[in-house]
Subunit: 690 residues, 2 copies
Amino acid sequence: GYELLAAERARSNIPVEKLQELLLTKEAIERKRRILDILKSEKVFDKSQNYFSGRMERFERALAREKKLQMLKRKHNWTQEEFRTASELIGEPGPYGLHESMFRITIDEQGTPEQREKFGKPAADYKIIGCYAQTELGHGSNVRGLETTATWNPEDKTFTIHSPHLTASKWWIGSLGRTANHACVVAQLMVDGKSYGPHPFIVQIRDTKTHEPLEGIHVGDMFGYNTMDNGFLLFNNVKVPHISMLARFSSVDPNTNKYVRRGSPSLVYGTLTWVRSTIVMQAGAVLARGVTIATRYCAIRRQFQDRDAPEWEKGENAVLNYTMVQIRLLPLLAATFALHFTGKGMMNLYQENQKRMNEKNAGRDGPSKRGAGPEETQSGSDILADLHATSCGLKALSSSTAAEGLEVCRRACGGHGYSSFSGIGPWYSDYLPTTTWEGDNYMLTQQVARYLLKSARSVLANELPINGAFADFVPPPLDTTRILSTFRSRSEIGCAFDILGSDCDIIAAFAWRSSFLTFEALKHRDEEKKPWNDLLVDFYRLSKAHSQYMVVKNFYEALLSPDTTSKIDADTIDVLWKLFRLYSLHTLEQEGSEFYASGACSKHQIMLARTNAVMKLLKEIRPHAVRLVDSWGFDDWLLDSSLGRYDGKVYEDMFYRASELNPLNRVTVDPYPESDVLFRKIEGEVKSKL
Amino acid sequence: GYELLAAERARSNIPVEKLQELLLTKEAIERKRRILDILKSEKVFDKSQNYFSGRMERFERALAREKKLQMLKRKHNWTQEEFRTASELIGEPGPYGLHESMFRITIDEQGTPEQREKFGKPAADYKIIGCYAQTELGHGSNVRGLETTATWNPEDKTFTIHSPHLTASKWWIGSLGRTANHACVVAQLMVDGKSYGPHPFIVQIRDTKTHEPLEGIHVGDMFGYNTMDNGFLLFNNVKVPHISMLARFSSVDPNTNKYVRRGSPSLVYGTLTWVRSTIVMQAGAVLARGVTIATRYCAIRRQFQDRDAPEWEKGENAVLNYTMVQIRLLPLLAATFALHFTGKGMMNLYQENQKRMNEKNAGRDGPSKRGAGPEETQSGSDILADLHATSCGLKALSSSTAAEGLEVCRRACGGHGYSSFSGIGPWYSDYLPTTTWEGDNYMLTQQVARYLLKSARSVLANELPINGAFADFVPPPLDTTRILSTFRSRSEIGCAFDILGSDCDIIAAFAWRSSFLTFEALKHRDEEKKPWNDLLVDFYRLSKAHSQYMVVKNFYEALLSPDTTSKIDADTIDVLWKLFRLYSLHTLEQEGSEFYASGACSKHQIMLARTNAVMKLLKEIRPHAVRLVDSWGFDDWLLDSSLGRYDGKVYEDMFYRASELNPLNRVTVDPYPESDVLFRKIEGEVKSKL
Ligand SMILES: Cc1cc2nc3c(=O)[nH]c(=O)nc-3n(C[C@H](O)[C@H](O)[C@H](O)COP(=O)(O)OP(=O)(O)OC[C@H]3O[C@@H](n4cnc5c(N)ncnc54)[C@H](O)[C@@H]3O)c2cc1C
Ligand SMILES: Cc1cc2nc3c(=O)[nH]c(=O)nc-3n(C[C@H](O)[C@H](O)[C@H](O)COP(=O)(O)OP(=O)(O)OC[C@H]3O[C@@H](n4cnc5c(N)ncnc54)[C@H](O)[C@@H]3O)c2cc1C
């Protein structure tokens, strides 16, 4: 395989290092290399038995790794970034996972200074180890429906936490099962017989010395991931002090025994948007891992001769040369870039807006330092609402694309794809819940639709002559409002987009389809008064259409931006444009009937997109495929895959793992049905359990 | 959950027992119950630890189960059917798997009477335990490319089996890794320096006493399934006697040292068709398992209130009432029936044809006993070719539908779907390779296309006036020829199908689209002379289109057949017709642009199919959903799922499994990073390995 990959790499001029810097930044690359060296030198991080071990062993090893990681963090004085890099390289969810990602952040964001001192400090030192206990056996997405109660006791100024039914049991809570000694518990606040909805409480659940559960607490592992202790938790009237309720935004006044609210937690709302943008950007990288493995392997794997190959080319064909393999892998390769740039674009927008809002909050309500540029005429919170809705749609689209794409990659590898050693399957199953948490992908689409309907209503309400005489005096709308207005203003005239000849017409066609579906949905809801439930499928399609528009638009803008063009040579940018077209036209063709129905494209254009444009792009991108995946810069240690090795030594590595690392090969069985003996002989220390 | 499912069941009149008899037959149901009782009473079949154990433990237990099963088979004198039922109920691939399914069958089909005596007999008694070793590390689908050689030695009348390279290592071979002592090895036969292509050899690989590998043989487990020992195998010039080569269809004459062929192995070809038809029928049941679990759970799971629900219905809504859940699950429910009837239809056709061929072979070449009915005018082998091609396409379509559908079911269950206790995930991953073996699903589509192109060419060559004056004298064509001719004869006139008003017009529309795509592909290949490789994507679509046509047609015919109408009441048949329409129209809408492009439907019809017809069908089928899945008759023991329990006790069962069965809960960890202790205390016998 070595020469085959070398030949692939020789065939293309993509500057791998440069492109990698564009994707990841120079400093992230350097950081990764540095940390990788440290990890590789520690025996506890050795991955060679991961694929063979059972639950107990894997959990035990995962705990050892998490501990070692903490000690390394202290020793090397790692920043949070460095620590995150290390976690990513290890690549498995671990028992401290939710302590880092949710428990500490929630205290920071929703706690008072006093609470940050009391809980946050020891949490930073791992004296307190916590988790985030919101979901219950009976309720997940419907947070208002949670059953755990926190009842205020005026007499002794405490809360009583209680689980009234089995379905109130906290469930799925990462790090809770065996590891945490505290939990951030989301419970219905009850004051004076009245319910005030779900609020967060910091509750100690295990003794900090013995690590045994405290009285009134039933806690355990419910078996989610192998390497993480997702847990359950039931309270039998457990009393906690007043300080337990995280009180930055609301609290119970111990003197008046009244519920007090302190402003709206819009910061938290913003954080959600941020988290979702991260998921979008990560989705690109997650998928890129699968695409890297499959592309490298399919460049090495040879199977059959090409039916029409000339006599002198009678060797077997690399399966990556078959168009049926290309059509599965190359659009996904394009999607990795599309999602990456989209996530990045979202995060930039978000950060800019936060900055602007902070500036405003700092008292500059008039023209800001940056001058009354067009952004300023739009209020920051409107933009936040727009960003929030978009991030919901994009989270759903991108995590579905990544999850489903990984399975396509796995299958493209034929039989060997099914082996754990491919590295795709285990990675896929760890990633899967991303489609469900942080908002179930199907349900998020309702939020996107709601926002689009609202925007469409306001476009209808004050129909502005965008292209008219007063254009200059009209505040420039948000992008969503803009495309809806444009559609509206041209809906009589119709459109004519040259999707095969012009990149910006592609964007316009996606915008047109999204707008068309928005007004269709609006008609169903507002004019025909259809029930909300009858429209969910339309909403789902609408959200998908709008999110796809966002992706192609972000990809397009990223390729035009000086940030890209200044870093990369023209030939490479040209290849990136081809990826842009492949992603866009392949998507367009897949969703052909919507584009057609909206009038954005003709039947003929859609057919040409498929039979000509896409097939041609596959051919043009094919020679660069290996270098393009190389640019994602995944280290072999991270990939942990026989098929995806950088050096192409696929078969040697598979054979080594199977014959040398595989513990079952230490066993001689007794194969005959009449004999009760199962394992006759076991070399080494493996022990029979039956 | 109990009352909720009871209420669901009370709301529909579907006669569960009757429908189950139609699907499975009375005797299969009775057989299953009888065998289930036996299995449940044996401790070794207890499933409660399956989800927690590691590879070694699972394999050991799987071996114990296989042995017990053999002993039970002997004790109760089980038929092969009864034995298969037992295996299905246990529901995991086991170490004897390939011995039963491939090794013994290959000897039977390809061996001479002498070989059946020598190898087949002791194999039946499990003195010889075998596997089927075809695939190699370097070659799977391309069987001609296998590298293992079997060289004829004229001097001592033996063959030398040899693996020239690492990539020649047999790979993925089920039952080989630890269990088998013999293998049916497919190797390139070399006689006198000339290669005669791959042939099967029975080779002993382990000592029957010590079970150690024989000299020159390197064999081991390569880690595929947890409960099965897929293995690798390398030969270093191993000599085997003349009788090793399975010689029913070809052999080396030991006297002349010449290669001799004895007729074509069309029986084997037929067997492949049979195996694929089985996969189609099983795909229905495989998917039904996931649909059963998800439907029952979504009928119990309550989340949110309906936004438009009237005041007096303010409880939480069963998620199965959300159209966005229905559109994911109910078309899959329809698909389970569609695939089942299609598989059954294929198998009937195949059996009839075999019977006819046997009769012919028995000397009745003229009008047979059954009279010169129309079937007789078509030669059996043409029908076999048609069946073979169709079975390829249907195998691909049905196994992809089942595999992808299972993941849709899992995701429909939200967070709990991700838990192993849902029973869907583990089942999905065991099923997945079905999309790759017995012909990779993507590659099979080339065979379908090749057949369709051939048929289209012959239609073009002797354009018959199907509706003309001579219709009665013309031999009635195969169904494929029929639809292609019809399309051809009307291609100038066009068509007008009332897909929303007439069920038989639905079938015609599917036939039309398939024919349209066939002639399009033919034009690309024969007129435009496009390379084969450039057309693979078109072929894939064509095969899918044709297979979908076969499915709707088989479903349609099954509902009209007296076999169905005599067994089931009219109301239930009415519901089955709704499932037929849901499957067909949902498929049609998904593939809208092809139907539109072919002219089979108008844009308006496709839009109506989605917004009106499909949404209406969902509403109409919804009340029957639980009883419809009940009709598949899966026992709780088989499902092994908390979410899919017949009695609806979802939460109780999840909690029980997590808290009582889960071995990690016997462990108290030391959670602090500074401490090297991992597991502080372990109740019972669990042992730390680090
Ligand atoms: C691996 C993993 C780790 C997790 N870690 C944590 C953790 O650390 N802490 C924590 O608090 N939680 C955690 N969770 C829980 C997770 O956040 C929830 O599972 C998730 O929010 C989904 O909620 P649910 O399971 O209740 O889905 P449900 O709401 O029950 O969804 C079931 C189905 O109904 C559909 N549906 C529901 N409502 C509607 C509606 N109104 N309209 C249309 N369709 C609807 C959904 O689309 C879905 O198909 C974890 C989950 C997993 C899988
Ligand atoms: C769990 C499991 C159990 C198995 N058990 C056995 C067993 O007991 N005995 C045994 O002999 N084998 C067994 N196999 C092997 C199995 O039959 C092969 O893996 C299967 O035939 C696929 O072949 P491959 O892996 O070589 O795929 P490849 O041919 O290498 O396919 C790789 C990719 O290339 C594509 N491709 C290849 N050729 C072409 C072409 N001409 N045109 C277009 N695309 C192409 C494919 O679609 C695929 O995406 C098993 C496999 C698995 C996963």
